[in-house]
């Protein structure tokens, strides 16, 4: 349990550092923070093995860390540097760590759902016992890709667990305003078993996931999880914490009552499983890891100009021209 706290503190400190770096212009583009949702990443990824797979949307930093991508390359990716996890070509929304089974953050709402289904297909095709976990936002359940994927996964009994990070909002639109049914009921009609869990309770999330992963490994077929959570920050760095679509009181209230880190911390302190001193030391360690990541990112050079064209194609054919822009390269 100490390790749960340590990991979640790392995620929180990492995102806070990203927020700071964004504010001073070290990070560009879109940047979506995961603050408030840490227990979902840890609880749902923790029970996996390294050879299992994870895919998610653009709110992907902490999932990447949870799956084992190093903090330094993730931060360097946010900085757009050569040392980044995708050599600076992906940025915040596209963290990848194929060697540890982190198959990317994806920017089109819902587009990762069929990809995860395909990874599940490949696992079954090869007869392996790996599991693929697909994170999606609540807004993504309204995409056709969601329903198409769950239907196919159910037909072919694919080893995929679809986890909805149900933070109640898609950008500025409350889920309840645009959905005919609650999240947990949206797998209805596909026959994929649905489970709801308190996503702010890392132990509950972990326990549920442990069970589901074991079931899926032994051939139970796809599963669907409504992980109830809340984001404490705006949709992205350009969106204020509260605003036209949710009130300050609502956000403050949830932060007070529903912070997954505070909840675990208090539980451990109350049960005297943790001392204040240990807690401070733990937080200090997290900060040190993050400081080191920021240092690594800052010292990493920008990608060299030759990298503009590299990796557009995996195979450069011997004949013909692949690039038709008439530039020298």
């Amino acid at each position: 349990m100490h390790s749960f706290l340590r990991d979640m503190l790392l995620y929180r400190r990492f995102e806070e550092a990203a927020e700071e770096a964004y504010a001073i212009g070290k990070i560009g583009g879109f940047c979506h923070l995961h603050i408030g949702q840490e227990a979902v990443a840890l609880g749902m990824i923790g029970p996996l093995r390294q050879e299992d797979y994870v895919l998610t949307a653009y709110r992907d930093h902490t999932q990447a860390l949870a799956k084992g991508v190093e903090a330094g390359p993730v931060m360097a990716e946010l900085f757009g540097r050569a040392g980044g996890s995708a050599l600076g070509k992906g940025g915040s929304m596209h963290i990848f760590g194929a060697d540890v089974g982190f198959m990317g953050g994806h920017g089109i709402v819902g587009s990762q759902i069929p990809l995860a289904t395909g990874i599940g297909w490949a696992i079954r095709y090869r007869g392996g016992d790996e599991v693929c976990v697909c994170f999606l936002g609540d807004a993504a359940v309204n995409q056709g890709a969601f329903w198409e994927s769950l239907n196919m996964a159910a037909v072919w009994k694919l080893p995929v667990i679809y986890v909805v990070e149900n933070n109640e909002y898609g950008m500025g639109t409350a889920f309840r305003r645009v959905s005919a049914l609650p999240v947990v009921e949206r797998a209805g009609g596909t026959g994929v078993p649905a489970h709801a869990v308190d996503g702010q309770d890392v132990l509950a999330s972990w326990r549920l996931m442990e069970r589901l992963v074991a079931d899926v490994r032994s051939g139970a077929g796809p599963q669907y999880v409504d992980a109830r959570t809340y984001r404490f920050k705006g949709h992205s760095m350009s969106d204020p914490v509260s605003g036209t679509y949710r009130s300050k009181e609502e956000v403050e209230g949830r932060k007070r009552e529903d912070d997954p880190i505070t909840r675990l911390r208090d539980r451990l302190l109350d049960a005297e499983l943790l001392t204040k001193k240990e807690l401070e030391a733990m937080d200090g360690e997290a900060r040190e890891v993050v400081n080191e990541a920021v240092r690594f990112a800052g010292e990493s050079p920008p990608p060299s100009p030759e990298e503009l064209y590299s990796h557009a194609y995996a195979e450069i054919n011997e004949h013909g021209r692949l690039f038709l822009d008439g530039r020298d390269r």
């Binding site: 995708a86 070509k89 095709y125 037909v155 013909g320 021209r321 692949l322």
Partner: protein
């Protein structure tokens, strides 16, 4: 290319050639599987996958629900972890539902992952117009696909090209769209006998379907046959047209295009698709960029009319590129009319 000269030939249809290519590649590589609507029990809407279910079983020849976005994305996901999916679209018209996965996932994955994750997938099926299928079933889709860096596109016009290019596409490490001509499935042609060894046509090699000194007709896909008809008509008037079949649009065999233009000094670009931002606009741009001084006349394009395909037979004929329109275009660049 000498690939075909020393070999024994079989006279088979375009459909059979594609079927052979699929069977041979599935035989050769266990990671290749075929997925799409009606590909298994029905033998394929156009019967390209005939007999493959019996031969390879339902693990590798898979009927899907009508979920183009879903199963195209499933294929991309499977390719991300090392399988080589061949995704059949019943026709490329329906692949518009799946374009998000083709363009936003398949085409960009290798780049945005910094080279960590490649996507060796083939999207294939018929494209273009058949007969009186009207607006939603008669689109030449190549320009949508070639627009995105990260995708490769081939458009075989003959059975031999169909076989050789599909095999190369399956072996390629990148996403390749193999766009088959809906009206070509019954076309017969010489294809090297499988007994005679592996027949693969590398991507990026255009083919001179006819040699000539007077004008270059540059084309690809089903309109190659229209170009050949036009060349025959021109021959009667004493004009020798060269027919350059691009075969592969990305990679594009620019050298062959330029060599032909430098020889004839006149070019007509013929394609089945619409003119606006079409494949031809790119080809013409390259010619003016790199062979302007070799041109004796502006390049003329022949395309489908810039309207949705009409149903009425007479209007449909008017809308499609025809041999007569190609002849007219050649006469224009030859200043003969």
């Amino acid at each position: 290319m000498e690939i075909t000269t020393t070999r024994a030939m079989a006279n088979i249809t375009y459909r059979e050639a594609l079927n052979q290519a699929l069977a041979e590649e599935m035989d050769r590589d266990e990671t290749v599987f075929l997925m799409g609507e009606e590909v298994a029990e029905y033998d394929g809407a156009y019967k390209v996958s005939k007999g493959l279910l019996d031969r390879f079983g339902d693990r590798r020849v898979v009927d899907t629900p009508i979920s183009e976005l879903g199963f195209a994305g499933l294929g991309v996901g499977a390719a991300m972890v090392g399988l080589r999916p061949v995704i059949e679209f019943m026709t490329f018209n329906f692949s518009l539902l799946a374009l998000d996965q083709v363009i936003n996932s398949a085409a960009k994955m290798y780049y945005m992952s910094g080279g960590q994750i490649s996507v060796p997938i083939v999207f294939r099926g018929p494209t273009g117009a058949a007969l009186q299928l009207s607006a939603q079933h008669s689109q030449a889709c190549a320009s949508w696909y070639v627009h995105a860096p990260g995708v490769k596109v081939v458009t075989p016009a003959t059975p031999a090209d169909a076989k050789g290019l599909l095999k190369a596409a399956i072996r390629d490490k990148d996403p390749v769209a193999v766009m088959e001509g809906e009206l070509l499935y019954n076309v017969k042609g010489e294809v090297p006998d499988p007994e005679d060894g592996d027949f693969v046509i590398p991507l990026g090699l255009a083919d001179l379907k006819r040699e000539g000194e007077d004008v270059s007709i540059i084309t690809h896909g089903p309109t190659v046959h229209i170009a050949l008809m036009a060349a025959q008509k021109l021959e009667k008037e004493g004009i020798e047209a060269e027919v350059v079949d691009l075969r592969s649009i990305r990679p594009l065999d620019v050298d062959t295009i330029l060599a032909s233009v430098r020889k004839t000094n006149r070019a007509v670009m013929l394609e089945e698709g619409w003119p606006f931002a079409g494949v031809g606009s790119q080809v013409v741009s390259i010619i003016q960029d790199e062979a302007f001084d070799d041109l004796d006349a502006p390049v003329v394009r022949v395309t489908q009319a810039d309207v949705p395909m009409p149903y009425a037979k007479n209007l449909e004929q008017l809308a499609k590129p025809s041999a007569d329109r190609v002849v007219d275009a050649c006469n224009r660049v030859l200043y003969r009319s």
